[in-house]
Amino acid sequence: MGQVMLKGFPLSLQTHSLQDLRQQASVVAKVFVQRDYTAGTICQFQTKFPSELETRIDKQQFEETIRTLNNLYAEAEKLGSRSYIEGCLACVTAYTIFLCMETHYEKVLKKIAKYIQEQNDKMYVPRGLLLTDPIERGLRVVEITIFEDQSNGPGR
């Protein structure tokens, strides 16, 4: 079983600024943005602005991030001609094609990972926050780790 310590950092998101953050600051809290099921079972996250982030980031920016994520997930799950062709082709080849080809969903997930990293580098890490890719949490929540405010100095 893993350790009791806080988890939340996919190693893939390590950049210089993140390393600095980790070394200097400790985690204050974690906020979880839940899924929005009003449109069914497709992957959408709630755009409601969590109160814990009020002092750290602009409401607009946060909502924009979540909305872009929602759009990307909608694109991944879209029922269109592309998905039908993929489905039929897979059926005809007895689904062995999944062993060779990357599915459309996986391609979009890579796009999402890139987007999250970009958002972290540009907006969130400078403000002492960190977004975790929802795929690391089973596409259930967007985990936002709040670090200590750097202006107060490291440590408690």
Binding site: G2, Q3, V4, R22, K30, Y37, T41, A90, A94, R137
Partner: protein
């Protein structure tokens, strides 16, 4: 267990060896090694099957044996007298059936990973269940409006999250599965969002194969009878195939028909059986909110939607510790480290700097009965109490009330292994209540930052910080030996009833004994905390 006392030792005494966690081993573990469900993994996580394989070998055997007999005994005759396409068609169908069956059995059906500790704590906080004295579970449902239908989301106690719509917890696999259809024993796996299309392809192609073989075999026998008019004694294998096909064709055709109906109306077997959308539950005007009200659209949505990814990431490596590695590892008391019985008191003392004593040696009788009960679960329970009276407590005085060495053995069917681990529970630290400093309820603790571990100050202050989002789970820690934490559910759905009974019996006995115990430590007044001590007698285990 012997009642023993340990002196306070300085940190420069024997330094405890770092907790041997998975990451310190030479070979890095992957996530499937610590997967909490009952699934089994092969080929380093590439292939997964449910814990109970069911009758998959029988299914495979029947299909392969019948088809082989068909190819060996019937095809030569039919090629000669009917047409050459028969083995080709048979071969294609047979391959298709096998491949879809293997895909269904060996892939991830859409398992939802369990909530992390931080997430579970956040969920509980959101619902407003912050008191630690009551272990009432969060209210079990959330309601969501989907397509003008009210859908209830239930809270899963095993996975510690609110289940998304159409998700159900499979008790055989001990996982929450998305779009849960059913657990199929023939296939030996759950059928859910990710493998429903394979399952459907399997039963449809199997129906075609069965009908095809049945027809061919019947033709073979009929032709032989007409041509030679001899008895058919020599063709016992053919007769066997006929019998097998005859009995299976009805059930498989029926099943295919049923699932075709489900696909066309975008329902799962689970929903159909429960009658969630057919108004059986008594609510008027319920219709399926997920249906597109168009047969073709529904079929496309179920069978041709983009293949979702596996959420459990079974071949990913376990993440390393979030905090940077210090020059030497921080002594901490995490669950999952394998500290030996002998080192536990040292480690505790180093962490909190208090005197460590083992379980109450108040009166001989109670010691005996307590140890015999507690030894059901763990070898030794230690307590560490502050050496200073309450008047000298400061805001950061921390004391570990109990740390127990938990040696939970795993029942053979479990893939989840829990080694002997240290469970730190019922830790309190002081908090300001009015003008007084009181002990606050349970947090997990970790030592403050990297660096050499300092000698605790004379006032008994220990530099420990609460770990965010981690609460002591008292009821789960009182398990009889042999019960794994992963199998506990605190819902009343009837899962693990037998286990619950055992645990309840244990609780009852423990309560009885504790009522007779007077909880007084020799030579020390009971602290206010001591009275709050695992009021185990009256704690509800839900």
């Amino acid at each position: 267990m012997k009642a023993c006392e340990y002196r306070q030792i300085g940190p420069q005494g024997t330094a405890p060896s770092p907790p041997v966690s998975a990451q310190n081993r030479v070979k890095r573990l992957r996530k499937w090694n610590v997967f909490p469900g009952k699934n089994r993994f092969y080929c380093d996580g590439r292939i997964m099957v449910a814990g109970q394989i069911g009758v998959l070998p029988l299914t495979l055997g029947l299909i392969i044996v019948t088809s082989c007999l068909f190819f060996i005994f019937d095809c030569p005759f039919l090629v000669e007298h009917v047409t050459r396409c028969i083995p080709a068609v048979g071969g294609v169908l047979f391959t298709f059936v096998l491949v879809s069956l293997l895909h269904t059995s060996f892939s991830d059906p859409g398992i939802l990973p369990r909530a992390s500790a931080a997430e579970a704590a956040y969920t509980e906080k959101q619902i407003g269940n912050s008191g630690s004295s009551s272990y009432r579970p969060p209210p079990r449902t959330r309601e969501v409006l989907i397509n003008r239908q009210l859908v209830k989301l239930k809270y899963c106690f095993t996975c510690k999250m609110f289940r998304p719509p159409r998700t159900s917890h499979c008790s055989l696999c001990d996982n929450c599965v998305e779009h849960f259809d059913h657990h199929c024993p023939w296939v030996g796996n759950c059928v859910g969002r990710r493998n429903y299309r394979f399952f459907y392809a399997f039963i449809v192609s199997l129906a075609f194969l069965t009908v095809f073989v049945f027809g061919c075999v019947a033709t073979h026998l009929a032709l032989r009878k007409f041509r030679s008019n001899r008895s058919l004694n020599k063709h016992s294998f053919t007769a066997l195939e006929l019998v097998v096909c005859f009995f299976s064709v009805w059930s498989i055709l029926g099943l295919s028909g049923f699932h075709t109906y489900l696909v066309a109306s975008n329902l799962t077997t689970n929903e159909d059986i429960k009658g969630s959308w057919s108004g059986n539950s008594g609510v008027q005007n319920t219709e399926n909110p997920y249906s597109y009200n168009n047969i073709l659209m529904n079929c496309c949505a179920v069978l041709c939607s983009p293949m979702p990814p596996s959420l459990i990431d079974r071949r990913g490596f376990l993440p390393t510790d979030e905090f940077p590695a210090a020059a030497h590892p921080e002594p901490e008391l995490p669950v999952g480290s394998s500290l030996s019985r002998e080192r536990l008191p040292e480690a505790l003392e180093q962490c909190c700097g208090h005197q460590v004593v083992s379980r109450p040696p108040s009166s001989p009788q109670s010691t005996t009965s307590l140890t015999s009960l507690t030894s059901l679960r763990s070898e030794c329970i230690y307590q560490a109490l502050p050496t200073t009276p309450p008047t000298q407590w400061t805001m950061n005085t921390v004391f570990v009330l109990e740390a127990s060495l938990q040696e939970a053995l795993v029942l053979p069917a479990d893939a989840f292994r829990e080694e002997s681990s240290v469970v730190v529970q019922n830790v309190t630290r002081t908090q300001q209540v009015g003008s007084q400093l009181r002990a606050a309820p349970g947090h997990w603790l970790r030592p403050r930052g990297p660096g050499p571990h300092r000698q605790p100050a004379p006032g008994g202050r220990a530099e420990l910080l609460p770990v965010e989002g981690r609460r002591a789970e008292l009821p789960a820690d009182f398990l009889p030996n042999g019960a794994s934490r992963g199998r506990l559910t605190s819902s009343h759905t009837g899962k693990n009833v037998e286990l619950k009974f055992k645990v309840n019996l244990f609780w009852i006995l423990l309560d009885l004994v504790l009522l007779l115990d007077n909880w007084r430590w020799p030579g020390r007044e009971p602290t206010p905390v001591a009275r709050q001590l695992p009021g185990r007698p009256l704690r509800h285990y839900t």
